[in-house]
Symmetry: D3
Subunit: 139 residues, 6 copies
């Protein structure tokens, strides 16, 4: 594949996984770092994400762990919590994955990531709670 | 103690330390991760913070160091700078603790934390400066 | 459950997941911080890991992402790469999860984690490579 | 040099490198941590930055690497991307330095820094792209 | 004070706080970065640590929080856990401060710091446990 | 270029920059993650490092900043301090770049990186000190 074909291939993967959120990020780079946009598409999605050794759902669990631990990645968490929903993780599983990360990355990192998930879930109209959950947290 | 009693105990500690700021954080989690809210209350405050081996004032010095070093924890620093004032640290001591962290975590982390303190101090109507301090920084 | 029962419950989960590696960590804390040992067992494993909302295999993918991103957690990666094998991730999937993390945490963090995996795989006598893989990396 | 002279010396260096952005940061500290403001001026710029062993252009390359890797330093990156332009790095070189950091700090850190550069470049009316670059990223 | 006097002043503070451990670090820099050694002594200890706004015991609580959160600072934790003992924190308080940091920095960072404390406590012949503590962690 | 040609191209760049240290890292991955080895060679060096927008000397200044700030990257710093010498940075400039990073990443990160430089400089028989520097740090 030449450079242009690698980009096309990566864009197909990125669009399936991230949807419009990922495309917007790449477009926002056009006037400041088109090469970073190219690498996100052609390398991160085309070369790495597309490898068959791990399915997208598993990749998103790893990605949620990494982004939560890094901190300061609210933009990227927004894209990747949407992606996680796109590739088959439920809101409940995503919420639980972020809760789980509190053990290893500490409460503040988990809290920050969970507040991003709160916004994404509201935008997507999904809830991590069981249908009948209308009780207080500790009840 | 059962789960509900652990939550009640933790909420009492959290309210003493963090005041309304902590409660608002827990409430904001009700529709996205009530279990994270429960763990903040029952575990972080009920089990850990309440231990008598270290008084609240000492705990807040450690917490300020951790949150400053982590970076990207402006929300949590807001809550914990308020908490630091609540448990007896003065604005001067808090400002100095953040200055001290510059040595170990670098100037940018200390600066970011100090700008959160600036907002909290303004909201609380407290000042870290001696009453007669109206001179230029280097004077 | 009382404190002792919470510990017993957590130790059962920890032993299933981490095996001897986790127990050794807890034992090493006996003379310096038995309470940290207790919290690892009773809270991290008993309260958090044991929750049914996410199966152990998914939890280990998140944990590998967090520990790789944090850096400086070679001891914990050793325990949790062993744990990943214990709960059903293959060496190939673990190696791929660490490769995937390079996109988000950078090559050095992924490299450090992969070198821990190399040691663990050798100790366990497992290989992430296809049986017939004896070619050069780029072949 | 006494304390006041060290401040004057540092302020001269800071003003040459950072321009108004750096001064605004120091001024914002006057009511919360004048000593942090003093140390930024007298120590960071007067003692450290002014050393002749490395010219300002080289220092800014190191600084861009550190701030990108730390994450959560958007304020400081704004000041230091301006500073990089002030001491002779071109927008193209800055954009490339941030792209380069993606290899070692991961895509999200490089993306966040690049989006700060996008804002600074727009404010300064400079572009990292060749004059004839009006093609799609992958073309 | 001139450069040499600032160094002398800082070395006095460093020696009081860190003892031989700090001196060894500075000496180890003599052939690779004498200026970093100078700055540790003259700036970090002479200018910053010596400020009266916060006593050494409080500074060490902040420092323990920062170093634990940063990770990968085993050398510095060794020096500063020794320093913490030197300025009046008990082994029990140090162990508790590191336990407390688990809430905010996660279990792995707290564990790594605690294992450094274990070595330092053994070298110093001190124990964080109550004299009659010979029970199992969860008992 | 096909996959094999991209690897060959990258290996040429890596060998020029990193020398044997880089090759050893790639070889060490052959049985655990040959794909990570491939990506280091073909992507990090072939696609990214080889871009003409920034010369190797500038790239190494950025890389030193990133690796120092990340922490826990002693292995990678060893390779990249060697690389820095290979592409024309002097020991004095490298030592100064690490000193400079102390302002932004804190003293401990700068200290850890400088101690790696100490080992590399000794192995390479180079010194960052002026020929007549045999005085005490503060003299």
């Amino acid at each position: 594949m030449n450079r242009s074909e690698r980009f096309e291939h990566g864009m197909k993967v990125l669009t399936e996984v991230d949807g419009e959120g990922g495309q917007r990020v790449v477009e926002s780079l056009a006037d400041v770092s088109p090469e970073l946009g190219h690498q996100i598409v052609a390398w991160a999605f085309g070369d790495m994400y597309a490898r068959p050794e791990l399915p997208p759902r598993d990749r998103q669990l790893v990605t949620l762990g990494v982004l939560t631990a890094l901190g300061g990645c609210e933009l990227e968490l927004d894209v990747h919590i949407n992606a996680a929903l796109n590739v088959g993780l439920t809101a409940t599983e995503i919420s639980e994955a972020l809760l789980h990360s509190a053990v290893y990355a500490g409460i503040p990192r988990a809290l920050n990531a969970t507040l991003v998930a709160k916004r994404v879930f509201a935008e997507r109209g999904v809830s991590p709670l069981p249908a009948d959950e209308d009780r207080l947290p500790s009840a």
